[in-house]
Each structure stands twice: as structure tokens, then as C-alpha cells.
Amino acid sequence: MRRSLLIPFAAALVSLCAPAQERLGAYAMTIEGLVHPTAVALDETGDLLAIADPLAGKVVIQRIERPVSLEVNPDGSINAIPLMDPRLNRYPVTFNKRSPTGLAFSPFGRLWITDSGANKLCSHSKETGGIEKYAGNEIHDLLHQPGSVDASARSLAIVEPMLHQVLLFAHPRNEGGGTRFELRARLGGRGTESGELLFPSDVAIAKDERVYVCDRGNHRIQVFAPDGEFLFGWGDWGWAPGFFADPTGVETAAGRVYVTDSSNHRVQVFDLEGEWLYEWGLHALEPREGEGKLHYPGGLAVSKKGELAAVAEAMDDRVQLFRLGAPPERFSRLDRSWQDMTASPHLGETIAVGGGLLFLGEPEGNRVKPYEWSRYGPRQVSELGGRGTAHGRLLGLTGMAYSSADRSLLVADPGNRRVQLYSLGPVDAETPAFDLSLGRFVKGLRLPDSVECGAIARHGDGSFDLLDLRAREIRRYDTDWKLVTTLGAWELVNPIDIEWDPVGERLLVTDAIAQAGWENAFGRVLAFSDERSGPTVVVDELAYPAGLGVRADGGFYVSDILEHRVDRFDAGGKHLLGWGSKGLGRAQFFQPRDVEVDEEGRVLVVDHGNHRLMVFDEDGAFLEVFGPRLYTRETRLGEGGDR
């Protein structure tokens, strides 16, 4: 063969083999013992790993020790073999912050931290070891509920999910004894057009200062110039390579863009222009399955040389590290289970119940699935919603409330910023048939631009309350769906769930953080009885209260994400009993969310981290479980955590 042909052939062979060696994604190790890690950051050298654990109220910084083997080349030079199995030891920095949400090391070694609970920005320097809080600095007037953050030598970018923006600052500099933050541009604004954002989740500043934004609600990556001009973007909702389902983290390193594609359970890798290169990850199916398998990957950090990646998985309390190595498993399985109408549904954070019907929110498909469950196990009878912007369709689901009086379901639709009402036709409890025409869209209310909807609660007369996550207040609507008043402004910090108590004629609210800025903040349950006066504290000193279910006698149940338990209180807030610990057993949960009480007094708990619905009697005795086999097997067999 002629040499001129051999050279390109050899080059092609090398190009096929070499990238495999350079690919990031080989599993290295798991960091456990975390509560709910949402964000990670690696410093410039890749030696320090910072982990934000907002439910624990902590940022932990760890040092990564990486043995470097040396090889002598034939010419006598020495190459350092990059990262092998990293070993970790604890760097002695742990500090308490409520709701740390974003982390980024600047090239100068400073760790920037955003705190969505206190709406603050602070930083940590390993030289001084202290926290700089910028008290009184005007930057805090610009922040609302800051999310992710990234820093380069010239810029600092902060994501504001509820404002649908990214704030781009010149890199802070010290002036006159203070720190000056110069706002250079606001990227985005709520919308679906190019350059607009919908609940952005992460930001990465590339070496050339272009800003890559993870546009989670629009399932895409968008790229902006340093002056804020929109340049280009890629991606849409789907499972094929280059498509995303709830992309959560973005990072640029070594000429590549890494994206955690949360609901597709993978990390996708692109070049800086958005050309797809490869992906890694395989959906974890067994509970807590890891060692390279991914389960809703969230925060992402990649070392600057592209040799080490850290992936936070809040749903599994862990951070996994990946390194360069053998080509990752190419999963051609093209997991579309979340789009498969017949697949076992993932359980969202909210449910509704009443009149022998059970409504499960299915987040990946943006659907509500009604089940008949009055006599036997839950049997699906129809489907509501589906992803879209047309009337009756949904973009997300933050709250549901059912009225058995008129067989109607009220749903909060955050992506479309509206409330929608559906009605259900009759269901034969003995032999329920699946019928896609059973439910119909009745009417919808478009919410003002400033509102981001959360939980919803209905009153007996058809009026309702809606939690506004952006203003952290409750909007009360009358029976004609006209806004009557707002409640709780300045009093709610991190409201999670609301529920109407018809006996006490009061609205109960779980607020996971009672006082912003308190070092040892705690959660509580508040009651709004009077539109003219403030709330009263019904229950205090809860760890992290989430779901709320009201009993017919005015008593109530509260789930606690941090303690993995459910507690029952009487109407006055006196603790009566509680049950639960972390696990898969009959009286165990993993980050439980919504709680509902049906007409027969049964207590339904969304065991969100275990993808299952648990049903108990009023005293917490286990009755039944509903969910994927792998997560319910242990409970059905009666193992673990029996009461």
C-alpha cells in the first residue's frame, strides 16, 4: 500500500481509538452520606470538590487526592498519566447555610455560593477559611431566589430560575474596602423563543467567555455572548441523542459541553458549537443502584482539563465521580420508558384523592393519571394533560386538588403559568374501563407574568388558594376565579404545601424554613384563618416539612423530607403520633412529599424518593403500596420497618 494512503488510514484508526481513551465517563467512585446534594463544583486544579446539600443546610468541601503515575517515554521525557482512581479525604471545611443552591470555584480559588433561602450570595476562600457575605452590598437587591452560579476570570453568572433569567456580572473586584458587582447583562426572560428561558437551572462560562445556559423548562441549551446577545442553541424535549428531558446541569471544559440530562438519566457531551459527541449513563432501576448508573443526575462539575466529573444525584443522596477511561457503555437502549403510555409511571410530588378516585401526577410525561381504587388496587381509567401549551395540556405539575362533589380536578400548570380545571365522567367501580375521553378540560385561568405557581388548595364552595413560589405568598381566588387577596407575603420563606381545613376554616401551610438568615432555621406549619391578620404558628421546630394532609376532624398529617417520616397532629397542633425512617420497608420512606387523607380516613403518602405511594390507616398502620415492583417488593413481602 502506498505510504500516502497508509498515513490517512493510520490517522483515521488513531482518531477512532484515541477519543475512546480521552472520553470522560468511566465510573470512579461514589461519595455517600449526603442528604440531598444538588450542586457540585471542582476547583481549577480539580483537587477540591465542593458539594451543596441544601436540605442539610450545608456546603461540604473535600480534597481529592489523585496519585499520579509517571511513565518514561522512549525519548527520556516523562508523561504524567492523568487521574486514575481518585481517593477522597475530608477537607476540614463544612459550614452551615440554609438552602445553598449554587456553587462555583473562580479561577482564583474562591468558592462562590448562592443561597436561595436567604436570597444571598456569599463566597469562601481557602486562604482565609472564612465566609464573606457582602452584607449591605447592592448585589442583594438584584437577587431574588438565586440558583446556580459560575465564575470565570472576567465574569460571574447567577441563575434566577423564578425570574427566568441569568444575571451576568463583571468579575467582582475590591474597591474602597468593599466588593463591587457590576451587572453587565440580564440573559433570557420568560418564554420559549430563542434567547428566552423557562426555569433555567444552570450556567457555564466557557474559556472564550460565551455563556452556556441550561434552559431546563425548554429542554435545551442556549448560548449567549459576553455582552448578553443570544448566539445559538440546541436541543428539544425527547430521548434521542441531542435531545433532553429536564436538563439540569451544564459545564464546559476542555473544549466540550457536558449536560446532565436528568429524566433521561444520562450525561450528554457536545462540542462547543453543540455538535453531539457521546453520552454516558444507564438508568438505575434497582433502588439506590449506582456505580456508574445514574438516577436523575442533577448538578454537574467537570475539571478544567476534562479529566474528572462529579455528578450530584439528589434523589439518591450521593455524588458519583467519573474519570477518563475505557469508552463508557454506549446505551443504544434509547430509554423512552417515560414516554411509553403503558409503562409504570414515575410518581410526581403531588397527588389528589376523592370519591374513589386517585390522581397521580406523572412528571416526565406532564400527565395526570386518574385511577379507580375504591374496591381493589388502583386501576388506571384515563389520562389528562400531556406535554404542550394548548388548553388542557400541561408543562409541569405543581399542585392538584379534587372535588368529589362535582367530580372536578384543579391543576396548577407552572410551565404555562395557569390553573386548569378538568371534569371526570362516571367510572364503574366494579369493572372500570380505560377511556381517554373520560376527562375533559373545563376551563383555565392565565396567571399574571409575576406569578410562578406551586401547590393548590380548594375550598368547598369552589374558591381556591394558589401558592405563588416567586412572591412566596398565597393568592386567594373566589368562586368566579377572581383574585380576592394575597396572604403570607413577608411571612413565608420556603412554602411547600397548602391545604384547606374546612372544619377550622383555615388554610394550613408547610414552610420548610421559618426564618431566612437564621443559622439554625427550622420548618413549621402555619394557619391563615383571617384574611386581615397574619398567620398563627400551629406546629414549630419541624426539620423539613413538606406534604400536608388534613383530616375530617381538622387534625392533619405532615411529611418530613429530612427525617423521612410522617407525623400526625390534632387540630391544635399537638403531636399525636409519627412513623417512618429511611428505607424501603412498610413504615419507611425516602424523602416523602405530598400527603392526602381520603374520605375513609386513609392516609396516602407520596414516597417520592422510592417512586411509590404508601397507604396507611389513620394511626399509621400499613395498608398497601403502589408503585414499580422493584421499589415495592420489599414492602409487599412485609420486610423492614414494620409497625
Partner: protein, 134 residues
């Protein structure tokens, strides 16, 4: 004289006839009964896989005149097949609560649902009916 004129205006307003549908067609209430919707297709028999249009008139159920800000969207779907039409109809407002939906096309035989989404202010309410295309 001025008070006489005001009385005449008031009388005229009281005596104004209730709004009426201006054409013959099928009629239905919206799903929360705030509106009545009358509709007819052109051609009268919906063709298979060919464009047709729908004339619609929306009247408030309380007998008042339709507000000028009223808007309407018409759509259709085959729920049992989990899909809708392959095209988006163009809405032409004709005044007094009347609209024409142009560019409708049912590309399949079977059970269709027709949707009339009436929007006034921030509230949208749906009227719907079933159409079987053979």
C-alpha cells in the same frame, strides 16, 4: 330635554332584544356553562382529508351581548389515537361573537372531538362535541 334623551337611551337599552344566533347550526354549552356556542361546517358534511371551515357564534349564557374582547380558538383531536389535527386552523373574527375557523382538516376516519375554547380576559372555557367521520 337632556333628561328626556337620557330616558330614551335608557329605555332603548332596556328594550334591546336579547342576542340571537345569526345562523342555523348545532348548539352546545361550554363545559362550565358560561357560554353557548353554535357552529356549522362548510361544506356541511366534513370531508375526509380535505380542508373545511367552521363558522362559530359565541353568546354569553346570561343573555348579555358578547364582549368585544372575546376570542375563540378552534381545535380538534382524536383522543383514542392520542393525536390532533396535522394543521393549525386560522381564526377570522367576524364581530358580535362570530368567528370563522379556516383550514380545518380531518386526516383520518373515526371519532373526533371538536374544541371551542372561548377566552374572555384571563379565563378560557371549553365547549366540545364529538364528530364521527366515516
Amino acid at each position: 330635554m337632556r333628561s328626556f334623551l337620557l330616558c330614551m337611551v335608557a329605555f332603548a337599552a332596556c328594550a334591546a332584544p336579547p342576542p340571537r344566533f345569526s345562523f342555523e347550526g348545532d348548539e352546545l354549552p361550554t363545559n362550565d356553562a358560561a357560554w353557548n356556542v353554535r357552529w356549522r361546517t362548510e361544506p356541511a358534511e366534513i370531508p375526509l382529508n380535505a380542508p373545511f371551515q367552521i363558522e362559530v357564534q359565541v353568546l354569553p349564557a346570561d343573555g348579555s351581548h358578547p364582549p368585544e374582547s372575546l376570542s375563540l380558538e378552534v381545535d380538534a383531536a382524536m383522543p383514542q389515537h392520542r393525536h390532533g389535527m396535522n394543521r393549525l386552523p386560522r381564526m377570522v373574527p367576524l364581530g358580535d361573537g362570530r368567528f370563522r375557523a379556516e383550514g380545518m382538516l380531518f386526516h383520518m376516519e373515526g371519532q373526533w372531538e371538536l374544541y371551542f375554547d372561548v377566552t374572555e380576559g384571563d379565563l378560557t372555557e371549553r365547549g366540545q362535541t364529538e364528530v364521527f367521520l366515516e
